[in-house]
């Protein structure tokens, strides 16, 4: 038995290391490119594998000279608002179906409906939405994005909040109600503190998802006053004359935010992505 495990390990280590290198190299190349100066990019025909004179020049250009700050601010506002509305709507839907005596048909119906929304490709919805947003005069307005991001994050948050709420024993809340607390009071005093960590994690994940969204932001916004950061990143890639270090810097900024957030909420990421099927211990 032991010999077999050892054999496996001898095979495993090189394979895992090779895999890890292939996986990490693209990320390394992004970071390396973002740290190169303009001179280094123009000077060489064959790119240098390690930046010769690391500089933050490209980040400065992206954020300050090309106005990336503004788009970052828009992104933060849009994502923050999305988190709030999604969590409130999610709680309003999941609280009754998990903690009040609704019929099984309603409960299963709501959950199935939420799941089916996950399957809907945004691009099929974007055409009619574009028309709706224009008639409501919300074109190039961050509110339109908050609206739509809420909708697309709702299925995930319903499934996640459902599992958190179901874990709080009903007796706790009933005890508070018997003692004369009203339902809102018992919710805020008893249930909310218990689901707070899960709520925070769900909020972080919704923030990261909304942060990554690109298609709706591309179509529903036009000017830097409403565009989100991914749209800005895209503009560095599709312009006529590609400036590699600035493109890399923009990409790096775009990925740092969700990466840091997801590492903070790491215990819940997989549960979120699989609608609560996989739970980390």
């Amino acid at each position: 038995m032991r010999a077999r495990t050892l054999l496996w390990q001898v095979v495993a280590i090189p394979v895992l290391v090779a895999f890890g290198l292939v996986y990490l190299f693209p990320l390394y190349w992004l970071v390396a490119t973002s740290l190169k100066g303009q001179g280094e990019l123009l000077g060489q025909i064959v790119p240098t594998l390690v930046p010769q004179a690391p500089t933050l020049e490209a980040f400065h250009t992206v954020l300050v000279e090309k106005g990336g700050w503004k788009l970052l601010r828009n992104s933060v506002l849009v994502c923050g608002a999305t988190v709030l509305t999604t969590l409130i709507l999610g709680l309003l839907i999941t609280y009754p179906i998990t903690r009040l005596p609704v019929s099984r048909r309603v409960r299963v119906g709501v959950l199935n409906w939420a799941l089916s929304l996950r399957f809907l490709p945004p691009v099929a919805v974007v055409v009619p939405y574009f028309g709706v947003v224009r008639t409501l005069q919300l074109y190039d307005n961050p509110l339109a994005l908050v609206f739509i991001y809420t909708l697309f994050n709702l299925p995930f948050s319903i499934w996640m909040l459902k599992s958190f709420l179901a874990e709080v024993p009903l007796e706790l809340e009933e005890a508070a109600l018997v003692d004369g607390a009203t339902r809102p009071v018992s919710f805020f005093r008893v249930v909310l503190p218990l689901i707070a960590p899960g709520l925070l994690a769900a909020g972080i994940i919704i923030f990261a998802f909304a942060w990554s969204e690109f298609l709706f932001a591309l179509i529903l916004t036009q000017t830097p006053s409403a565009q989100t950061f991914p749209v800005g990143v895209q503009s560095f890639v599709t312009q006529f004359n590609l400036i590699w270090n600035e493109m890399a810097a923009a990409g790096l900024i775009a990925l740092l935010v969700p990466l840091v957030l997801m590492i903070l909420a790491r215990r819940y990421v997989l549960a979120g992505l699989t609608f609560g099927v996989i739970r980390e211990k």
Binding site: W8, L16, V102, L117, G251, R266
Partner: protein, 308 residues
């Protein structure tokens, strides 16, 4: 003995209980229905708009019946995009599932230290959480002509002579775009299956090993039954994602060269926002939604989700 301690009639008690219950139920429905109603309207309204747009002319706005649908179905580009989507799925899904499964088994069998497992977990969630646009940027820096580092590495290794325009030739462009998907989503498959392997009871594995089971039969007879529902789950989520994939292809090739990486979602985008043919785009959107609902209703029954 007279029943002095309980002045309340049992029937009254039962009624009170019933009323109490129904008050809670009323509260539940009062909370639920306004919110669900609003969300339902917000979801459905665009569908109605899409249906209406799909039977009106893009220019002029008069009723044209099913002409837009006919136009969609007569356009050979539709079938090209369906074919590209199928090719993409056929490359990406099996590769991700096989690679993810192999990795999960390898790590499950060999890596014992919890610290190392945490490192692998963090490494695995990294690609998943990167915004697809940024993933597009990352692979632009790998595959692009001139600065793209893949060509230089291959030349240094002596495997190729001159530069290959990965994103500019039909076959390599499709492979490049698909490789990005594999890079980003194999870790997801790995994570789900690895978590699944942890649920296999240790006793049955040990019993099998004592009986002299080969690693293969241990996998096939003991571990695979635990993974089967998860494989379905992975298929569901990955299929949903392949049908909506847009961002990284938009950034890498924009659907080109020609239309060789123009998957269904990019094709729809092009009709709506490059040709501004709203009628045809709406008709296609309606057809996509109907098709996907059918696919969804077929696949959803098989899923291992806790619905209660």
């Amino acid at each position: 003995m007279a029943d002095l301690g309980d002045p309340v009639h049992p029937a009254l008690l039962r009624r009170r209980e019933r009323e109490g219950l129904s008050r809670q139920q009323r509260l539940a429905y009062w909370m639920l229905f306004p919110v669900l109603g609003v969300v339902f309207c917000i979801v459905s309204y665009p569908l109605v708009v899409a249906l209406m747009q799909s039977v009106t002319a893009t220019r002029g706005g008069e009723f044209v019946g099913l002409l837009n649908y006919q136009a969609v179905l007569e356009n050979p580009l539709l079938y090209a995009s369906l074919k590209q989507t199928a090719i993409y799925a056929a490359i990406v899904l099996p590769l991700e599932i096989v690679l993810g499964l192999l990795l999960a088994l390898l790590v499950h069998r060999t890596v014992r230290s919890g610290w190392l497992r945490l490192v692998l977990y963090l490494l695995a969630i990294t690609p998943i959480v990167i915004p697809p646009v940024a993933v597009g940027v990352i692979f632009r820096l790998i595959y692009a002509p001139n600065y793209g580092v893949l060509n230089h590495l291959l030349i240094m290794a002596g495997w190729i002579e001159g530069e290959i325009n990965w994103l500019g030739q039909p076959y390599t462009a499709m492979l490049a775009v698909a490789s990005v998907d594999v890079w980003q989503w194999t870790p997801f498959v790995y994570l789900v299956l690895f978590a699944g392997l942890q649920t296999v009871p240790r006793e049955s594995v040990e019993a099998a090993q004592v009986d002299g089971a080969t690693p293969w039969s241990q996998f096939w007879h003991i571990e695979l039954p635990y993974l089967r529902p998860l494989l379905l789950l992975i298929l569901f989520f990955r299929l949903a994602d392949v049908l909506r994939v847009f961002d990284h292809i938009f950034v890498l090739t924009g659907g080109g060269p020609g239309t060789t990486t123009q998957l269904l979602s990019l094709y729809l985008y092009r009709i709506a926002f490059k040709f501004f043919d709203t009628g045809e785009a709406a008709a296609l959107a309606v057809m996509v939604m109907v098709g996907i609902s059918l696919l969804y209703s077929f696949i959803t029954r098989l899923l291992p989700l806790e619905r209660d």
